[in-house]
Subunit: 154 residues, 12 copies
């Protein structure tokens, strides 16, 4: 089974408003679009022998559906929950049931922003968290996740 | 009208991640699947001369749509709001407008778990609450709701 | 031992001011007296092959004495702690040491009342909680407890 | 019925540690003993054509028993709940069910003392509150209660 | 000096909106006007050999001016700070510097009303507090104050 | 009586520092002076067949005096309480006793400013609230108030 | 570009349960239906030379999709977020990225209702807020928005 | 008088559920019974020329009665208030009036347990506190109290 | 303009109860009267080539009127807001609009007194704060203000 | 290994300002110097066959260095963290890694002092706590620690 | 002794990061270096016949050592605790034991900065506080301290 | 200058108790020692053409000294503040003045541990944060920092 799971893709989910990347408040979120980040991640994952399923939704329920799907169809997950990170217990519960290595990312550093962004419902159920490096956060997360997957299956 | 409403079914709604029942954290939620609970409830409701509409969704908006539907199409409701129970004012408002007997259930006992599960936005608008008896919570809820419906219409 | 405990009675304890049932604020607590509830429970318990020890006290200490007594003399307990539910750590400790299936009940739905009734010191040490169905709460609790006793001994 | 209730006595209840009056911290509570206060009140009540039932207990449950007794046996009540004033929801509930004019008194002014004495669970269910005048608080309370009884029955 | 202070009048100050008494929300504040209360108090004070200076203002600063005046011109004070009771540290400071027996009164029972009326900035610097008896609160306050003045000078 | 009240003017009260309008922090409050706003409102009110009494004060007590005056002399009120909005229970009480349609306005949007401006003691006793449109807030308030007056008297 | 944006419609979005308008709790929300409000707004907008896109959803994600659409397809927005107003950081973020004049409306006055309705996540990113005037709130919002659009483009 | 008080016994009071010692949760409270602790203390006290009055009650009121008794009948007190330690202002008041050296003990270390056990109403009125050493806590308390009694009388 | 403003006086405002200086609680506030402080300041200001306008009021509104006056008539301000310092947002707003160097002073050290004196609404809009040196606080404030005026105009 | 650790000394660490013992606030901390306490402890430890390493530092870092040293060089530790007890998570972490029996002591009873001394970061990682008996606290701690060491090794 | 203490120097202590003065964030802290401030203070102190011991440390423990040294070697102290002002109870305790006139200074006005700088652990044990005047704060502090030393010894 | 700064080393600082890595609680912190992490980082940095200065201290003041040193001697910094992360405003201030790219790391995921580890004083002044990947956190931080240095200088 460990062997088999190596060939499963990693799921990369992005939450509400992240489809506006590159358009919305570029001084906070940078000018790279989400599509470009997807391409960067696919390249990086390939280096680790991994493929990427890359999705975005503004719908909390759809994100939960995808997390549930990933329970059997993925080798691990990288998630940027957007604003749902700070409020969604439903995402928290879905991720707790994921049973796959999980990395949380944010483009900006939420701890340097408004108080209500300092607390994430996702962080306590993630293995690790990487924030503040813009698009680079996602790329580092691929490295981190690859290493976790190797660790848990290798 | 009272007569007519007797033949309306009861709505049983389950919120996010409850479709994972039997798979997710069985030591908290037990090994019975949601489908099996649906069958147990149907049988029990039949004893009371009632039928059951049994639905689950991870989407807050879909749950609200169904609650609105139940305003005219149901004789009463049993709801397990899952994690939305603790955060959703929108569910609270929808249920307040339901105008039908309402029973809240939980499989586990939320008061014996994390602090953030101690407060439910649904409880104040429910007639009564039954928690902690696993699948049995749902069956007891059918008895309770049947008795409420009889009381309000009989 | 499992066999023997089957013939032990269930203890049903009611806390302060519950002796006023049927007299005090009938629109909140209903018109059934506590004695009538005792009779309803005895009948229901008999269906499950169980007998009932039914007591009420306004004295926190006496309730604790009874809970300690129930450690060896009962098969399980149903408790309505009344106002002590919200404040008594001593009841909490006594019930934690009970080591028997425990069901908490309330006649009214405390979550639809004053803030200070939203938190119960008993709930976290109970197996399950049933509130809001008036005298019916107690009857449902007998069903729930019978099922728990069977589960733990059968 | 209004006529009959006129001849019922008024109940004056004192809570924990008030039996130490005159002995405990005289600079806060004065040097008059509780028995002397009882005599002052009896004399004052007599002026209003009223008699006094005067009791003290350190036991919360006993105070509740007496309040319940007063539901049918008294024309009104004056209560100094002592330290239970600040913590006892059970007293609160018992007094709410009293259905007789109720006056809360304290010898000292709790608002000039420790923070935890600023909040009384009795105040919201009393008609009025008189604090800070030492033994005189009780005498003023007799006047106030007599006037309330007259108002509600005369 | 003690002798002399006996002939000084007592000051009775009423704060904002109390001039509306008898007009504003009569189910909370009763139908007696402030002028009528002034007359009741004058009569009662006369029984104790005291006269009354009776004033009302909607202006916090004017109330402070009067309290300062009372430092040398009064034998004691009765104050109903109205809504300023709950917010005014300036009144608190002025009254702390009064150096005369001080009784706080309220017509209604603030502890049975909104949360923001539960805390008075005046209470901690008063000798005693009388609330909830309508116009009768003021009359009882005259008795209480007369007794305090006698105690401190007699 | 309904007829008569139609010819009564509407009262427009402005609280502390609003006399500095056009001078103080123009990027928050704009460059229109209070006098100019008064003229805009008079014109607009005339369209609805209404006249305007337009006053400003830095004195909380004076504002209360005017609100009390408006109980009999106005058909309705528009108020910008300035900083008193956030702290004054006395204004709250006065307005609760006003018994006339009441509209609260602010030039700036307080919810986009410091935390202490997010809570208004006036809002809960107003019929409606209009904020954030600069001088236009006042003009919209005239329309809203005219419509309320018509509704309550027409 | 300013010219072009004049011909774009204004978006009017209504959140969860607002489709029940006229049916749900009419003493709070009035008897006008949402469709009727839509028609009133269309007429009013026409007066300002504007057209209206009028939509309602119970789905948070769908509201976000529409707000993102409005970034390029609308001249401005009026939003009643319903219960999501009080909890949704995701709506907050979407609206912050809207870059069009934004007016928040509510039918009832949330500040006169439960505590949890006093805080809106939408208010800090709106230009202005209009609440409490029932269907009239929406009509006033059209006037306010028209004036903002003119101001920013005229 | 100092001489006389030497021959008075020390009072050792144990609060609710401590009679279960050795039975209840032995990994927290150890396996020594309360009776055995009483014997250990009697032996140790004898070394210091002191005798022990050793009592336990689940009744708050009875504990208060005993503390009042100890005002004249004991040379000092050791108390383990059990769960009442964390909630009982009445015990706090009784102990403040004790006027004898007072040592608080706990078997377990409350600071390493649930949050609600971190705060004791007894600690501020005790001379010293000894917690966490199981039955040994009581023995050390005898040494400490003996030394305090000697210090205050010797 | 810089030249001209040099010859403007400095305004020294004192808030409620400060007219009692030397009389009220001398162990906190010292025995120097406010008039004497005014003379000390005038002498000190003269050394810096400055004159002093020295005023006290118990009226919040009057203080605001004077602060507004000082916008054009003063070179800078020293203010001791008394108890209004801790509560008055209206003073805060007025001082924020002052646009002149501002120094806050207190005779006593508020941080060594009751909790409610630890927070000043004036401090965040002052350039600097000097507290705790009695009358000397005012004199140091003259030096500080003179230096600020020189800095901003010299 | 158990044998070997018996001959290891016990470490007694005192935190900031404890070197001032006997000099600083003698009515709180007594007149015994720290050196004298060291000698008392050495004598007492000798009775148990133990030696003492006795150190004090005002430097948080140095205390941590010593705690780390004690991981291999001591049989157990007694610590009075002084003011660092209430704030230092770094001490907390160091002590959690100590892996030796640990007793916390304080000379005074912190629970009878300022609020900020009621919470110790050391208590939750100590085996037991002894406070309030002055120098005697340290001596009792030697007895307690000796008994713990014997228990864990004997 | 009073005479002798006149010739003792004053200690001026600066806490963490103040050695960066003139380099770090000059718009908050100004461009004057700490050494230059030392020279300004020495000159000013000389005017008062006083000398200055001027030290800075980033080490909390070293600051405490110096404060203890100052108990016998200084006539008074001026301290800028830097960030330790807001967190260090150990500094608080050391300064409370200082027994010399103490003045707290800050270059910037902490009340106009982040919330966590609004509370100083040093302020309650200082005689007075001077903040916000940049380097001038220190010079004013020398004047203030000189006057305190003269007052306490002259 | 940009060229020159490339050859400066990166500083890697570790706070209190991190020298125990590999020894202390290996299930939380792993079995790799700090020295081994230093070697891993040196190798990784070399790949980016960077060298590493690698230091650990239990002393807050020493960490501050090193951060100040790094202002001129480093190209960027990686810091694991250990327990000081959660409490030290002094570190916060020092890092804010660093003016070099800063990455915060933690071995474990603090958000999955005790509440008091959820808040870091370092995070708001860091560019980005990487936590939860054990020793791998440090290696990823080298990649992240290298990329930041390149970005700011390249």
């Amino acid at each position: 089974m460990a062997k088999k799971s190596k060939v499963l893709p990693i799921y990369v989910l992005s939450g509400p408003n992240l489809n506006l990347l590159g358009l919305r408040e570029p001084d906070i979120y940078g000018r790279t679009t989400l599509a470009e980040i997807g391409q960067m991640m696919a390249r990086r994952a390939k280096n680790h022998g991994l493929s990427v399923v890359f999705r975005q939704s503004n719908h909390e329920g759809e994100l939960i559906d995808w997390i549930q799907e990933a329970r059997t169809k993925s080798a691990g997950m990288i998630i940027n929950g957007g604003a749902y990170s700070h409020t969604s217990l439903a995402l928290h519960d879905a991720l707790r049931a994921l049973d796959r290595p999980l990395v949380e990312v944010h483009l900006s550093n939420p701890f340097a922003r408004e108080e209500f962004r300092h607390h994430s419902r996702i962080s306590p159920v993630a293995k690790g968290v990487i924030v503040g490096f813009g698009a680079q956060s996602y790329v580092l997360a691929v490295d981190a996740l690859a290493s976790l997957i190797k660790g848990s299956t290798g």
